[in-house]
Symmetry: C2
Subunit: 326 residues, 2 copies
């Protein structure tokens, strides 16, 4: 574990325990039926980034409520519901170093458990009795499902533009992190300006996290990734390092890269050659720069709020998004 | 079409047109992405029973609102989202005489489109700005997904009890019809007694509809059913006609029935023999009696409300549920 990650985790032990308890508490009445399949993913070592962001955002906005973890878990449920369906759609066999839920329990179980977890998420949302939060979660749910459909339609397309890529990662990642931060601000009953600033923070952090995630697929090894590198390519997903590199390649190099990417059974050597092209053509460097810019903007968005331990943690989360190795 | 169905439909032309317009209006902004897959099921000749019940319930409760169809469609969306995922889970190839969505567009498309339609349903729910309705829809979404999981776990079980069967059909059908009626009463701002009475009406109608549906799988032919009869058995689903018949069969007959049912490739002759056993052992008759009792109780629940054209229609819907042939 990186020093930065250890530092952040050391500071949020209480919050993490409250989140774990609440995640389990909420599934209890359904343990026998859906708990096992839901638990497989929910308790497989996720970072709890989304509920943590909600709690920290609420604190930065001045809330001293003691019921924040009760609502925060809705963001972990929403995330888990999406992952379960996505892994099924992408036919991904591994997730966080474990077999994916559909691979262990079957596709029907994965479809229905995803539906069930989403339903739990919505019930918790309704419990906030706050229409601004309810609208936010409904909007996120719509945006995420559209983002996934869009990504499905984009599969195998070699001509995906940077704008199309940005639109997909916004919907599949940034809106949820933004939603977590905005909900924290709403629960703290902060002003409109505070809600907007928290929204910008979460959105930029989300964009940075997804870009860093997409980079890892080319720069990390199987052990730290918890799945085979090159998975995005095998699933026909073009991400920013590739899109940028293709735009800078000459006709020959472009043809060579496309030939590698079009073969779902590319060899380790072919993949290494592709990664080398991504580096040489600047795809890796460009993506790193974009992610860094998003983190800088995320940090700027917090200027509005007074200094606090929790604000310091949100700033560290920004740095962490850039240095992740898994 | 039966005389009764024609009579009901003739009386609700305006409502049906408003529902169709609203169903299309609500999908418009997403037409290119999800509209086609969603539209495949949504515009394949569904009865619009659920939105109709909501509108009629609101009218019986005294509402003269002109925006009822806007909210009513949420029940068609919720129904459609469930059907799309169910057909996938059950590997059903036909629905309403057409290939099922996953068979036409693929499993990933069916998973994500179901998610998208559910998200639309929730956004419309939030637009009611009524917490009682929001709670009702959250409860329905949870109950339905649990019912489906329960049904999945029950697959192939020859010892399913009547109580277990009732619990499944309550969750998969009755709670949604109840929810439509209850929501109508809430939108009409009727008293608690009115909401409860409408809930009872919808619940009993739902139980009757599902029992009638389960009967059709044994008493109807492929042409009027829009799919092969015996589909429930092929999917390993025991329904009331079978559960009752098994409870009345002697050891030999029980063994013979179980042998037929355990073979997913049973012949037309074996199926005919099974249906004959269901008749002789009273499974068909018992299920008909149960459905009739539910309709009688549904009708009794309406005693509270003054006579009106719409109340007359709700009473007719009860009769219709019993005489359906498709």
């Amino acid at each position: 574990m990186s020093e930065l990650k250890a530092k952040i985790l050391g500071e949020v032990t209480d919050e993490l325990i409250a989140i774990e308890l609440s995640l389990r508490e909420n599934l209890k009445p359904w343990a026998a039926l859906a708990g096992e399949v839901a638990g497989h993913l929910l308790f497989s070592g996720g970072k709890r980034l989304r509920p943590l962001l909600m709690i920290l955002a609420a604190r930065v906005c001045g809330s001293d409520r003691d019921d924040l973890s009760r609502y925060a878990v809705l963001f972990e449920y929403l995330h888990a519901a999406t992952l379960i369906h996505d892994d099924l759609v992408d036919e991904a066999v591994m997730r966080r170093g474990q077999p994916a839920a559909h691979a262990v329990y079957g596709a029907p179980e994965a479809v229905l458990t995803g539906d069930f977890i989403l339903a739990r998420c919505l019930s918790i949302t309704a419990e906030t009795r706050n229409f601004a939060i309810i609208d936010e979660i409904c909007g996120i749910t719509e945006a995420m499902s559209q983002g996934e459909i869009q990504q499905l339609y984009n599969k195998g397309r070699m001509d995906l533009s940077e704008a199309e890529y940005l639109s997909v990662i916004e919907r599949k990642t940034a809106v949820l992190l933004k939603g977590a931060c905005v909900t924290g601000a709403y629960l703290a009953e902060h002003s409109e300006a505070g809600v907007a600033a928290m929204g910008r923070y979460g959105w930029h952090i989300g964009m940075a996290f997804q870009m860093a995630d997409d980079l890892l697929d080319y720069t990390s090894d199987a052990a730290s990734l918890g799945k085979e590198p090159g998975a995005d390519l095998r699933e026909g997903k073009l991400t920013l390092p590739v899109i940028y590199a293709l735009s800078k390649a000459d006709a020959d190099e472009k043809a060579r890269m496309e030939a590698i990417m079009s073969d779902p059974d590319f060899t380790v050597d072919a993949f290494a050659e592709l990664v080398e092209s991504l580096r040489r053509l600047g795809g890796i460097g460009y993506t790193e720069r974009c992610a860094r810019e998003h983190v800088a903007k995320a940090k700027e968005s917090l200027a509005l709020f007074p200094e606090s331990r929790e604000k310091e943690l949100l700033l560290l989360v920004g740095d962490y998004s850039l240095e992740r190795t898994s």
